[in-house]
Symmetry: D2
Subunit: 153 residues, 4 copies
Protein backbone atom coordinates (compact mmCIF):
# COMPACT_ATOMS: atom_id res chain seq x y z
CA UNK A 1 0.00 0.00 0.00
CA UNK A 2 1.51 3.30 -1.10
CA UNK A 3 1.33 6.60 0.77
CA UNK A 4 -1.32 7.78 -1.73
CA UNK A 5 -3.56 4.77 -0.97
CA UNK A 6 -3.45 5.55 2.75
CA UNK A 7 -4.97 8.97 2.01
CA UNK A 8 -7.74 7.46 -0.09
CA UNK A 9 -11.10 6.28 1.31
CA UNK A 10 -11.57 2.52 1.43
CA UNK A 11 -14.36 0.99 -0.65
CA UNK A 12 -14.29 -2.25 1.30
CA UNK A 13 -13.60 -5.57 -0.43
CA UNK A 14 -15.24 -8.79 -1.56
CA UNK A 15 -14.56 -12.06 0.21
CA UNK A 16 -16.28 -14.51 -2.11
CA UNK A 17 -19.73 -13.01 -2.74
CA UNK A 18 -19.73 -10.97 0.46
CA UNK A 19 -18.83 -7.31 0.36
CA UNK A 20 -17.21 -6.23 3.65
CA UNK A 21 -17.20 -2.54 4.55
CA UNK A 22 -15.91 -1.01 7.81
CA UNK A 23 -17.64 1.93 9.52
CA UNK A 24 -16.63 3.91 12.62
CA UNK A 25 -19.36 5.37 14.86
CA UNK A 26 -18.88 9.14 15.35
CA UNK A 27 -20.72 11.79 17.41
CA UNK A 28 -23.01 12.54 14.43
CA UNK A 29 -24.31 8.97 14.36
CA UNK A 30 -25.52 8.78 17.95
CA UNK A 31 -28.42 10.37 19.83
CA UNK A 32 -28.93 11.50 23.43
CA UNK A 33 -30.08 8.03 24.49
CA UNK A 34 -26.42 7.03 24.09
CA UNK A 35 -26.63 4.74 21.05
CA UNK A 36 -26.60 5.01 17.27
CA UNK A 37 -29.78 6.70 16.00
CA UNK A 38 -31.86 4.10 14.13
CA UNK A 39 -32.03 5.97 10.80
CA UNK A 40 -28.25 6.32 10.67
CA UNK A 41 -27.76 2.60 10.10
CA UNK A 42 -29.47 3.22 6.76
CA UNK A 43 -26.78 5.77 5.94
CA UNK A 44 -24.09 3.21 6.83
CA UNK A 45 -25.79 0.62 4.62
CA UNK A 46 -26.04 2.98 1.67
CA UNK A 47 -22.32 3.74 1.92
CA UNK A 48 -21.69 -0.02 1.82
CA UNK A 49 -24.00 -0.54 -1.18
CA UNK A 50 -22.42 2.32 -3.13
CA UNK A 51 -18.98 0.90 -2.50
CA UNK A 52 -20.07 -2.67 -3.25
CA UNK A 53 -21.14 -1.39 -6.68
CA UNK A 54 -17.87 0.52 -7.05
CA UNK A 55 -15.76 -2.55 -6.27
CA UNK A 56 -17.96 -4.65 -8.61
CA UNK A 57 -17.05 -2.22 -11.40
CA UNK A 58 -20.33 -0.28 -11.53
CA UNK A 59 -19.99 3.50 -11.95
CA UNK A 60 -23.16 5.08 -10.49
CA UNK A 61 -21.97 8.63 -11.04
CA UNK A 62 -21.31 8.18 -14.76
CA UNK A 63 -24.77 6.61 -15.15
CA UNK A 64 -26.35 9.57 -13.38
CA UNK A 65 -24.32 12.22 -15.22
CA UNK A 66 -25.13 10.48 -18.53
CA UNK A 67 -28.86 10.64 -17.63
CA UNK A 68 -29.09 6.84 -17.82
CA UNK A 69 -30.54 6.43 -14.38
CA UNK A 70 -29.93 6.11 -10.69
CA UNK A 71 -30.80 3.65 -7.92
CA UNK A 72 -33.59 4.52 -5.51
CA UNK A 73 -34.56 2.46 -2.47
CA UNK A 74 -38.04 1.03 -3.12
CA UNK A 75 -38.46 -1.19 -0.08
CA UNK A 76 -36.52 -1.71 3.11
CA UNK A 77 -36.91 -3.78 6.25
CA UNK A 78 -34.52 -3.81 9.16
CA UNK A 79 -34.35 -5.50 12.52
CA UNK A 80 -32.30 -3.81 15.21
CA UNK A 81 -30.68 -6.53 17.33
CA UNK A 82 -28.23 -4.73 19.62
CA UNK A 83 -27.30 -1.06 20.04
CA UNK A 84 -23.99 0.31 18.74
CA UNK A 85 -22.16 3.10 20.58
CA UNK A 86 -19.84 6.01 19.92
CA UNK A 87 -16.40 4.83 18.90
CA UNK A 88 -17.51 1.32 17.89
CA UNK A 89 -15.86 -0.21 14.84
CA UNK A 90 -18.59 -1.86 12.77
CA UNK A 91 -18.46 -4.10 9.72
CA UNK A 92 -21.23 -4.16 7.13
CA UNK A 93 -21.53 -7.36 5.14
CA UNK A 94 -23.65 -7.05 2.00
CA UNK A 95 -24.74 -9.78 -0.41
CA UNK A 96 -26.85 -9.65 -3.56
CA UNK A 97 -29.90 -11.72 -2.79
CA UNK A 98 -31.95 -11.44 -5.94
CA UNK A 99 -31.70 -9.76 -9.32
CA UNK A 100 -34.63 -8.43 -11.33
CA UNK A 101 -34.68 -6.53 -14.63
CA UNK A 102 -35.05 -3.13 -12.98
CA UNK A 103 -34.08 -3.83 -9.38
CA UNK A 104 -31.80 -5.79 -7.13
CA UNK A 105 -32.38 -7.00 -3.61
CA UNK A 106 -29.48 -6.77 -1.22
CA UNK A 107 -29.11 -8.28 2.23
CA UNK A 108 -27.06 -6.27 4.66
CA UNK A 109 -25.90 -7.24 8.11
CA UNK A 110 -24.10 -4.92 10.49
CA UNK A 111 -21.63 -6.54 12.89
CA UNK A 112 -19.49 -5.43 15.83
CA UNK A 113 -17.07 -8.32 16.11
CA UNK A 114 -19.32 -11.37 16.59
CA UNK A 115 -22.33 -9.32 17.70
CA UNK A 116 -25.05 -8.81 15.12
CA UNK A 117 -26.21 -5.18 15.41
CA UNK A 118 -28.78 -5.03 12.61
CA UNK A 119 -30.13 -7.23 9.83
CA UNK A 120 -31.70 -5.62 6.77
CA UNK A 121 -33.08 -6.32 3.31
CA UNK A 122 -33.10 -3.54 0.76
CA UNK A 123 -34.70 -3.39 -2.68
CA UNK A 124 -32.93 -0.86 -4.91
CA UNK A 125 -34.83 0.04 -8.08
CA UNK A 126 -33.09 1.52 -11.10
CA UNK A 127 -35.04 4.54 -12.33
CA UNK A 128 -34.81 7.13 -15.10
CA UNK A 129 -34.15 10.80 -14.27
CA UNK A 130 -37.96 11.18 -14.50
CA UNK A 131 -38.43 8.49 -11.86
CA UNK A 132 -39.70 5.61 -14.01
CA UNK A 133 -38.36 2.06 -13.60
CA UNK A 134 -35.70 1.20 -16.17
CA UNK A 135 -33.76 -2.01 -16.92
CA UNK A 136 -30.37 -1.96 -15.30
CA UNK A 137 -27.47 -1.54 -17.77
CA UNK A 138 -26.39 -4.90 -19.27
CA UNK A 139 -22.88 -4.64 -17.84
CA UNK A 140 -24.32 -4.10 -14.36
CA UNK A 141 -26.61 -7.13 -14.69
CA UNK A 142 -23.57 -9.15 -15.63
CA UNK A 143 -21.63 -7.84 -12.61
CA UNK A 144 -24.55 -8.64 -10.28
CA UNK A 145 -25.09 -12.08 -11.80
CA UNK A 146 -21.58 -13.08 -10.74
CA UNK A 147 -22.56 -12.18 -7.16
CA UNK A 148 -25.77 -14.22 -6.96
CA UNK A 149 -25.91 -17.10 -4.45
CA UNK A 150 -26.61 -19.78 -7.08
CA UNK A 151 -23.51 -18.89 -9.10
CA UNK A 152 -20.22 -20.75 -8.99
CA UNK A 153 -17.45 -18.39 -8.06
Amino acid sequence: MSAADIDFPTAGRFVGREHRFPVRVYFEDTDFSGVVYHANYLRFMERARSDMLRVAGIDQRAAFDGAEGVYAVADLSIQYKRPAHFDDALLIISTVDQLRAAACIIQQRIWRGDDLIADARVTAAFITPEGRPRRQPAAWVEAFTRLLPNQTL
Copy 2:
Protein backbone atom coordinates in the same frame (compact mmCIF):
# COMPACT_ATOMS: atom_id res chain seq x y z
CA MET B 1 -53.99 31.51 18.50
CA SER B 2 -51.79 33.95 20.41
CA ALA B 3 -48.53 35.48 19.21
CA ALA B 4 -46.65 33.13 21.54
CA ASP B 5 -48.24 30.08 19.93
CA ILE B 6 -47.15 31.19 16.48
CA ASP B 7 -43.53 31.13 17.64
CA PHE B 8 -43.91 27.63 19.09
CA PRO B 9 -43.30 24.43 17.10
CA THR B 10 -46.43 22.46 16.22
CA ALA B 11 -46.81 18.96 17.64
CA GLY B 12 -49.49 18.03 15.13
CA ARG B 13 -52.94 16.94 16.28
CA PHE B 14 -55.20 13.92 16.58
CA VAL B 15 -58.21 13.49 14.31
CA GLY B 16 -59.90 10.51 15.91
CA ARG B 17 -57.12 7.94 16.38
CA GLU B 18 -54.94 9.40 13.66
CA HIS B 19 -52.09 11.71 14.56
CA ARG B 20 -51.47 14.22 11.75
CA PHE B 21 -48.09 15.95 11.57
CA PRO B 22 -46.89 18.34 8.83
CA VAL B 23 -43.32 18.35 7.50
CA ARG B 24 -41.65 20.65 4.98
CA VAL B 25 -38.87 19.25 2.75
CA TYR B 26 -35.69 21.33 3.02
CA PHE B 27 -32.27 21.17 1.31
CA GLU B 28 -30.94 18.90 4.08
CA ASP B 29 -33.55 16.24 3.31
CA THR B 30 -32.76 15.75 -0.36
CA ASP B 31 -29.83 14.17 -2.23
CA PHE B 32 -28.18 14.89 -5.60
CA SER B 33 -30.65 12.60 -7.41
CA GLY B 34 -33.18 15.39 -6.77
CA VAL B 35 -35.50 13.68 -4.28
CA VAL B 36 -35.71 13.10 -0.53
CA TYR B 37 -32.97 10.72 0.65
CA HIS B 38 -34.58 7.45 1.74
CA ALA B 39 -33.22 7.46 5.31
CA ASN B 40 -34.61 10.94 5.94
CA TYR B 41 -38.20 9.72 5.87
CA LEU B 42 -37.27 7.83 9.04
CA ARG B 43 -36.31 11.14 10.62
CA PHE B 44 -39.66 12.63 9.60
CA MET B 45 -41.48 9.63 11.07
CA GLU B 46 -39.61 9.84 14.36
CA ARG B 47 -40.55 13.50 14.71
CA ALA B 48 -44.17 12.48 14.16
CA ARG B 49 -43.97 9.65 16.71
CA SER B 50 -42.36 11.86 19.34
CA ASP B 51 -45.06 14.47 18.89
CA MET B 52 -47.84 11.87 18.79
CA LEU B 53 -46.64 10.81 22.25
CA ARG B 54 -46.43 14.43 23.37
CA VAL B 55 -50.00 15.18 22.30
CA ALA B 56 -51.16 11.92 23.91
CA GLY B 57 -49.73 13.17 27.19
CA ILE B 58 -46.57 11.06 27.30
CA ASP B 59 -43.41 12.85 28.45
CA GLN B 60 -40.45 10.98 26.95
CA ARG B 61 -37.88 13.40 28.28
CA ALA B 62 -39.00 13.09 31.90
CA ALA B 63 -38.92 9.29 31.59
CA PHE B 64 -35.37 9.45 30.22
CA ASP B 65 -34.16 12.01 32.76
CA GLY B 66 -35.72 9.93 35.56
CA ALA B 67 -33.81 6.86 34.28
CA GLU B 68 -37.12 5.05 33.72
CA GLY B 69 -36.44 4.23 30.12
CA VAL B 70 -36.56 5.33 26.53
CA TYR B 71 -38.03 4.07 23.27
CA ALA B 72 -35.74 2.40 20.75
CA VAL B 73 -36.79 1.25 17.29
CA ALA B 74 -36.62 -2.56 17.24
CA ASP B 75 -38.05 -3.28 13.82
CA LEU B 76 -38.99 -1.18 10.84
CA SER B 77 -40.29 -1.80 7.35
CA ILE B 78 -41.02 0.86 4.77
CA GLN B 79 -42.20 0.94 1.18
CA TYR B 80 -41.29 3.98 -0.84
CA LYS B 81 -44.19 4.69 -3.23
CA ARG B 82 -43.39 8.05 -4.85
CA PRO B 83 -40.48 10.48 -4.46
CA ALA B 84 -40.88 13.74 -2.55
CA HIS B 85 -38.98 16.88 -3.59
CA PHE B 86 -37.50 20.04 -2.12
CA ASP B 87 -40.19 22.43 -0.93
CA ASP B 88 -42.93 19.78 -0.76
CA ALA B 89 -45.37 20.01 2.13
CA LEU B 90 -45.88 16.51 3.52
CA LEU B 91 -48.30 15.15 6.09
CA ILE B 92 -47.43 12.17 8.28
CA ILE B 93 -50.38 10.19 9.57
CA SER B 94 -49.54 7.84 12.44
CA THR B 95 -51.77 5.28 14.14
CA VAL B 96 -51.09 2.87 16.99
CA ASP B 97 -51.51 -0.58 15.47
CA GLN B 98 -50.72 -2.86 18.36
CA LEU B 99 -49.73 -2.59 22.00
CA ARG B 100 -47.49 -5.02 23.89
CA ALA B 101 -46.18 -4.89 27.44
CA ALA B 102 -42.79 -3.51 26.43
CA ALA B 103 -43.41 -2.25 22.90
CA CYS B 104 -45.89 -0.61 20.59
CA ILE B 105 -46.32 -0.97 16.87
CA ILE B 106 -47.10 2.16 14.92
CA GLN B 107 -48.21 2.50 11.34
CA GLN B 108 -47.03 5.63 9.60
CA ARG B 109 -48.00 6.89 6.17
CA ILE B 110 -46.45 9.93 4.50
CA TRP B 111 -48.70 11.90 2.15
CA ARG B 112 -48.31 14.83 -0.24
CA GLY B 113 -51.91 15.83 -0.80
CA ASP B 114 -53.57 12.64 -2.08
CA ASP B 115 -50.30 11.02 -3.14
CA LEU B 116 -48.95 8.33 -0.85
CA ILE B 117 -45.18 8.87 -0.59
CA ALA B 118 -44.23 6.10 1.86
CA ASP B 119 -45.91 3.48 4.00
CA ALA B 120 -44.15 2.17 7.10
CA ARG B 121 -44.59 0.01 10.18
CA VAL B 122 -42.39 0.66 13.20
CA THR B 123 -41.95 -1.35 16.39
CA ALA B 124 -40.75 0.86 19.23
CA ALA B 125 -39.49 -1.05 22.27
CA PHE B 126 -39.30 0.54 25.70
CA ILE B 127 -35.90 -0.16 27.24
CA THR B 128 -34.03 0.59 30.45
CA PRO B 129 -30.94 2.85 30.42
CA GLU B 130 -28.96 -0.43 30.25
CA GLY B 131 -30.83 -1.44 27.10
CA ARG B 132 -33.08 -4.18 28.53
CA PRO B 133 -36.78 -4.40 27.60
CA ARG B 134 -39.04 -2.87 30.27
CA ARG B 135 -42.82 -2.63 30.65
CA GLN B 136 -44.09 0.72 29.48
CA PRO B 137 -45.29 3.01 32.31
CA ALA B 138 -48.93 2.28 33.24
CA ALA B 139 -50.08 5.78 32.33
CA TRP B 140 -48.56 5.38 28.87
CA VAL B 141 -50.27 2.01 28.32
CA GLU B 142 -53.52 3.70 29.22
CA ALA B 143 -52.85 6.53 26.76
CA PHE B 144 -52.01 4.07 24.00
CA THR B 145 -55.01 1.87 24.75
CA ARG B 146 -57.32 4.77 23.96
CA LEU B 147 -55.66 4.95 20.53
CA LEU B 148 -56.04 1.28 19.57
CA PRO B 149 -58.26 0.43 16.57
CA ASN B 150 -60.61 -1.82 18.55
CA GLN B 151 -61.44 0.92 21.04
CA THR B 152 -64.57 3.05 20.98
CA LEU B 153 -63.62 6.71 20.81
Copy 3:
Protein backbone atom coordinates in the same frame (compact mmCIF):
# COMPACT_ATOMS: atom_id res chain seq x y z
CA MET C 1 -56.97 29.11 11.15
CA SER C 2 -58.74 26.40 9.13
CA ALA C 3 -58.33 22.64 9.57
CA ALA C 4 -56.23 22.58 6.39
CA ASP C 5 -53.79 25.14 7.81
CA ILE C 6 -53.24 23.04 10.91
CA ASP C 7 -51.99 20.21 8.70
CA PHE C 8 -49.59 22.48 6.85
CA PRO C 9 -46.00 23.17 7.92
CA THR C 10 -45.37 26.63 9.32
CA ALA C 11 -42.96 28.93 7.49
CA GLY C 12 -42.53 31.22 10.48
CA ARG C 13 -43.41 34.90 10.26
CA PHE C 14 -41.90 38.36 10.11
CA VAL C 15 -42.13 40.72 13.06
CA GLY C 16 -40.78 43.91 11.53
CA ARG C 17 -37.57 42.89 9.78
CA GLU C 18 -37.05 39.81 11.93
CA HIS C 19 -38.09 36.41 10.64
CA ARG C 20 -39.10 34.15 13.55
CA PHE C 21 -39.09 30.39 13.00
CA PRO C 22 -39.81 27.73 15.66
CA VAL C 23 -37.90 24.41 15.81
CA ARG C 24 -38.40 21.41 18.08
CA VAL C 25 -35.37 19.31 19.08
CA TYR C 26 -35.88 15.63 18.24
CA PHE C 27 -33.79 12.48 18.79
CA GLU C 28 -32.12 12.94 15.38
CA ASP C 29 -30.72 16.34 16.41
CA THR C 30 -28.86 15.23 19.52
CA ASP C 31 -25.74 13.15 20.11
CA PHE C 32 -24.60 10.79 22.88
CA SER C 33 -23.16 13.68 24.92
CA GLY C 34 -26.80 14.61 25.58
CA VAL C 35 -27.08 17.87 23.62
CA VAL C 36 -27.81 19.02 20.09
CA TYR C 37 -24.97 18.04 17.72
CA HIS C 38 -23.18 21.22 16.61
CA ALA C 39 -23.69 20.69 12.85
CA ASN C 40 -27.42 20.29 13.30
CA TYR C 41 -27.89 23.94 14.23
CA LEU C 42 -26.84 24.66 10.65
CA ARG C 43 -29.72 22.50 9.46
CA PHE C 44 -32.11 24.46 11.71
CA MET C 45 -30.77 27.73 10.35
CA GLU C 46 -31.13 26.64 6.73
CA ARG C 47 -34.76 25.72 7.36
CA ALA C 48 -35.27 29.20 8.77
CA ARG C 49 -33.53 30.88 5.81
CA SER C 50 -35.54 28.88 3.26
CA ASP C 51 -38.76 29.84 4.98
CA MET C 52 -37.69 33.46 5.44
CA LEU C 53 -37.31 33.59 1.64
CA ARG C 54 -40.67 31.85 1.19
CA VAL C 55 -42.49 34.34 3.40
CA ALA C 56 -40.68 37.22 1.65
CA GLY C 57 -42.16 35.96 -1.62
CA ILE C 58 -39.03 34.32 -3.07
CA ASP C 59 -39.57 30.94 -4.77
CA GLN C 60 -36.25 29.06 -4.59
CA ARG C 61 -37.65 25.93 -6.19
CA ALA C 62 -38.96 27.70 -9.30
CA ALA C 63 -35.58 29.42 -9.70
CA PHE C 64 -33.80 26.06 -9.47
CA ASP C 65 -36.24 24.22 -11.74
CA GLY C 66 -35.98 27.07 -14.25
CA ALA C 67 -32.16 26.71 -14.20
CA GLU C 68 -31.84 30.32 -13.02
CA GLY C 69 -29.76 29.49 -9.99
CA VAL C 70 -29.67 28.41 -6.40
CA TYR C 71 -28.22 29.69 -3.13
CA ALA C 72 -25.07 28.10 -1.76
CA VAL C 73 -23.50 28.92 1.59
CA ALA C 74 -20.16 30.63 0.89
CA ASP C 75 -19.13 31.60 4.40
CA LEU C 76 -20.42 30.83 7.85
CA SER C 77 -19.38 31.61 11.39
CA ILE C 78 -21.18 30.48 14.50
CA GLN C 79 -20.68 30.80 18.23
CA TYR C 80 -22.26 28.17 20.43
CA LYS C 81 -23.37 29.85 23.65
CA ARG C 82 -25.42 27.26 25.52
CA PRO C 83 -26.37 23.66 24.72
CA ALA C 84 -29.91 22.74 23.64
CA HIS C 85 -31.49 19.42 24.62
CA PHE C 86 -34.00 16.87 23.38
CA ASP C 87 -37.52 18.23 23.49
CA ASP C 88 -36.49 21.89 23.69
CA ALA C 89 -38.59 24.37 21.76
CA LEU C 90 -36.24 26.77 19.99
CA LEU C 91 -36.86 29.97 18.07
CA ILE C 92 -34.61 31.08 15.20
CA ILE C 93 -34.55 34.79 14.53
CA SER C 94 -33.06 35.75 11.16
CA THR C 95 -32.34 39.19 9.76
CA VAL C 96 -30.85 40.31 6.47
CA ASP C 97 -27.63 42.08 7.39
CA GLN C 98 -26.20 43.05 4.03
CA LEU C 99 -27.13 42.71 0.38
CA ARG C 100 -24.66 42.33 -2.50
CA ALA C 101 -25.29 41.78 -6.21
CA ALA C 102 -24.72 38.04 -6.02
CA ALA C 103 -25.01 37.30 -2.31
CA CYS C 104 -26.76 38.21 0.89
CA ILE C 105 -25.51 38.06 4.44
CA ILE C 106 -27.94 36.87 7.07
CA GLN C 107 -27.62 37.00 10.82
CA GLN C 108 -29.27 34.15 12.68
CA ARG C 109 -29.72 33.75 16.40
CA ILE C 110 -31.14 30.64 18.04
CA TRP C 111 -33.07 31.19 21.26
CA ARG C 112 -34.68 29.00 23.92
CA GLY C 113 -36.88 31.48 25.70
CA ASP C 114 -34.47 34.21 26.85
CA ASP C 115 -31.40 32.00 26.55
CA LEU C 116 -29.22 32.57 23.51
CA ILE C 117 -28.16 29.15 22.22
CA ALA C 118 -26.16 30.13 19.14
CA ASP C 119 -25.26 33.23 17.16
CA ALA C 120 -24.33 32.93 13.50
CA ARG C 121 -23.60 34.92 10.36
CA VAL C 122 -24.13 33.26 7.00
CA THR C 123 -23.19 34.45 3.52
CA ALA C 124 -25.42 32.86 0.89
CA ALA C 125 -24.18 33.26 -2.67
CA PHE C 126 -26.49 32.94 -5.65
CA ILE C 127 -24.89 30.66 -8.25
CA THR C 128 -25.72 29.27 -11.69
CA PRO C 129 -26.34 25.52 -12.18
CA GLU C 130 -22.65 25.38 -13.20
CA GLY C 131 -21.62 26.93 -9.88
CA ARG C 132 -20.67 30.45 -11.04
CA PRO C 133 -21.78 33.53 -9.09
CA ARG C 134 -24.84 35.20 -10.63
CA ARG C 135 -26.75 38.38 -9.79
CA GLN C 136 -29.79 37.63 -7.72
CA PRO C 137 -33.11 38.04 -9.58
CA ALA C 138 -34.32 41.69 -9.49
CA ALA C 139 -37.53 40.80 -7.64
CA TRP C 140 -35.49 39.07 -4.94
CA VAL C 141 -33.18 42.06 -4.53
CA GLU C 142 -36.28 44.18 -4.08
CA ALA C 143 -37.66 41.79 -1.47
CA PHE C 144 -34.35 41.77 0.42
CA THR C 145 -33.99 45.54 0.22
CA ARG C 146 -37.19 45.96 2.18
CA LEU C 147 -35.62 43.84 4.93
CA LEU C 148 -32.35 45.78 5.27
CA PRO C 149 -31.64 47.53 8.59
CA ASN C 150 -31.34 51.01 7.06
CA GLN C 151 -34.79 50.82 5.46
CA THR C 152 -37.92 52.45 6.82
CA LEU C 153 -40.56 49.80 7.35
Copy 4:
Protein backbone atom coordinates in the same frame (compact mmCIF):
# COMPACT_ATOMS: atom_id res chain seq x y z
CA MET D 1 -1.59 -5.06 6.46
CA SER D 2 -3.47 -8.13 7.65
CA ALA D 3 -6.95 -9.23 6.56
CA ALA D 4 -8.31 -7.99 9.89
CA ASP D 5 -6.92 -4.50 9.30
CA ILE D 6 -8.66 -4.29 5.92
CA ASP D 7 -12.00 -4.79 7.67
CA PHE D 8 -11.24 -2.05 10.20
CA PRO D 9 -12.10 1.63 9.70
CA THR D 10 -9.13 3.91 9.05
CA ALA D 11 -8.37 6.65 11.58
CA GLY D 12 -6.16 8.54 9.13
CA ARG D 13 -2.53 9.25 9.95
CA PHE D 14 -0.14 12.02 10.92
CA VAL D 15 2.41 13.35 8.46
CA GLY D 16 4.46 15.59 10.69
CA ARG D 17 1.92 17.68 12.59
CA GLU D 18 -0.78 17.27 9.98
CA HIS D 19 -3.50 14.70 10.47
CA ARG D 20 -4.71 13.40 7.10
CA PHE D 21 -8.12 11.74 6.93
CA PRO D 22 -9.87 10.48 3.75
CA VAL D 23 -13.64 10.83 3.21
CA ARG D 24 -15.82 9.57 0.37
CA VAL D 25 -18.91 11.59 -0.64
CA TYR D 26 -22.06 9.44 -0.58
CA PHE D 27 -25.73 10.09 -1.47
CA GLU D 28 -26.45 11.14 2.15
CA ASP D 29 -23.92 13.98 1.96
CA THR D 30 -25.37 15.77 -1.08
CA ASP D 31 -28.52 17.80 -1.67
CA PHE D 32 -30.78 18.33 -4.68
CA SER D 33 -28.61 21.21 -5.95
CA GLY D 34 -26.09 18.48 -6.86
CA VAL D 35 -23.32 19.23 -4.38
CA VAL D 36 -22.40 18.39 -0.79
CA TYR D 37 -24.79 20.07 1.67
CA HIS D 38 -22.90 22.76 3.57
CA ALA D 39 -23.56 21.39 7.07
CA ASN D 40 -22.22 17.97 6.12
CA TYR D 41 -18.65 19.26 5.84
CA LEU D 42 -18.92 19.81 9.61
CA ARG D 43 -19.71 16.13 10.01
CA PHE D 44 -16.65 15.24 7.91
CA MET D 45 -14.49 17.55 10.02
CA GLU D 46 -15.73 16.09 13.29
CA ARG D 47 -14.86 12.58 12.08
CA ALA D 48 -11.38 13.85 11.29
CA ARG D 49 -11.00 15.55 14.70
CA SER D 50 -12.19 12.45 16.56
CA ASP D 51 -9.70 10.30 14.69
CA MET D 52 -6.91 12.85 15.05
CA LEU D 53 -7.41 12.52 18.82
CA ARG D 54 -7.54 8.74 18.54
CA VAL D 55 -4.25 8.55 16.62
CA ALA D 56 -2.71 11.03 19.09
CA GLY D 57 -3.55 8.59 21.88
CA ILE D 58 -6.55 10.41 23.33
CA ASP D 59 -9.51 8.20 24.31
CA GLN D 60 -12.64 10.41 24.17
CA ARG D 61 -15.00 7.56 24.97
CA ALA D 62 -13.21 6.54 28.17
CA ALA D 63 -13.23 10.19 29.31
CA PHE D 64 -16.95 10.42 28.66
CA ASP D 65 -17.79 7.05 30.23
CA GLY D 66 -15.66 8.02 33.26
CA ALA D 67 -17.65 11.28 33.59
CA GLU D 68 -14.45 13.30 33.14
CA GLY D 69 -15.74 15.36 30.28
CA VAL D 70 -16.34 15.65 26.58
CA TYR D 71 -15.44 18.09 23.81
CA ALA D 72 -18.08 20.49 22.54
CA VAL D 73 -17.65 22.87 19.64
CA ALA D 74 -17.69 26.42 21.02
CA ASP D 75 -16.89 28.41 17.91
CA LEU D 76 -16.59 27.58 14.24
CA SER D 77 -15.93 29.50 11.06
CA ILE D 78 -15.78 28.00 7.60
CA GLN D 79 -15.27 29.29 4.08
CA TYR D 80 -16.65 27.19 1.27
CA LYS D 81 -14.29 27.51 -1.69
CA ARG D 82 -15.47 24.95 -4.26
CA PRO D 83 -18.34 22.45 -4.26
CA ALA D 84 -17.71 18.72 -3.79
CA HIS D 85 -19.88 16.13 -5.56
CA PHE D 86 -21.18 12.61 -5.12
CA ASP D 87 -18.40 10.05 -5.40
CA ASP D 88 -15.59 12.53 -4.78
CA ALA D 89 -12.68 11.33 -2.68
CA LEU D 90 -11.78 14.09 -0.22
CA LEU D 91 -8.90 14.51 2.18
CA ILE D 92 -9.24 16.43 5.44
CA ILE D 93 -6.04 17.90 6.80
CA SER D 94 -6.25 18.99 10.45
CA THR D 95 -3.67 20.81 12.53
CA VAL D 96 -3.71 21.98 16.14
CA ASP D 97 -3.45 25.74 15.95
CA GLN D 98 -3.61 26.78 19.58
CA LEU D 99 -3.93 25.15 22.97
CA ARG D 100 -5.70 26.62 26.00
CA ALA D 101 -6.35 25.15 29.42
CA ALA D 102 -9.92 24.13 28.62
CA ALA D 103 -9.99 24.27 24.82
CA CYS D 104 -8.04 23.70 21.66
CA ILE D 105 -8.30 25.41 18.31
CA ILE D 106 -7.99 23.24 15.25
CA GLN D 107 -7.58 24.30 11.66
CA GLN D 108 -9.16 21.98 9.12
CA ARG D 109 -8.89 22.12 5.36
CA ILE D 110 -10.82 19.86 3.01
CA TRP D 111 -9.11 18.97 -0.27
CA ARG D 112 -10.04 17.13 -3.45
CA GLY D 113 -6.64 16.54 -4.98
CA ASP D 114 -5.12 20.02 -5.31
CA ASP D 115 -8.49 21.80 -5.07
CA LEU D 116 -9.30 23.41 -1.74
CA ILE D 117 -12.97 22.68 -1.00
CA ALA D 118 -13.35 24.29 2.42
CA ASP D 119 -11.21 26.01 5.03
CA ALA D 120 -12.32 26.02 8.67
CA ARG D 121 -11.26 26.92 12.18
CA VAL D 122 -12.88 25.12 15.08
CA THR D 123 -12.65 25.80 18.82
CA ALA D 124 -13.38 22.65 20.82
CA ALA D 125 -14.00 23.26 24.52
CA PHE D 126 -13.61 20.52 27.10
CA ILE D 127 -16.65 20.49 29.39
CA THR D 128 -17.94 18.53 32.37
CA PRO D 129 -21.04 16.33 32.08
CA GLU D 130 -22.91 19.37 33.48
CA GLY D 131 -21.61 21.55 30.65
CA ARG D 132 -19.03 23.63 32.56
CA PRO D 133 -15.56 24.30 31.12
CA ARG D 134 -12.91 21.98 32.56
CA ARG D 135 -9.14 21.75 32.11
CA GLN D 136 -8.23 19.12 29.58
CA PRO D 137 -6.60 15.99 31.08
CA ALA D 138 -2.83 16.43 31.53
CA ALA D 139 -2.00 13.57 29.20
CA TRP D 140 -4.11 15.17 26.49
CA VAL D 141 -2.42 18.53 26.92
CA GLU D 142 0.88 16.74 26.52
CA ALA D 143 -0.32 15.01 23.36
CA PHE D 144 -1.57 18.31 21.92
CA THR D 145 1.59 20.17 22.86
CA ARG D 146 3.62 17.85 20.65
CA LEU D 147 1.36 18.89 17.76
CA LEU D 148 1.67 22.65 18.17
CA PRO D 149 3.32 24.64 15.34
CA ASN D 150 6.10 26.07 17.53
CA GLN D 151 7.26 22.62 18.65
CA THR D 152 10.22 20.74 17.23
CA LEU D 153 9.10 17.39 15.89
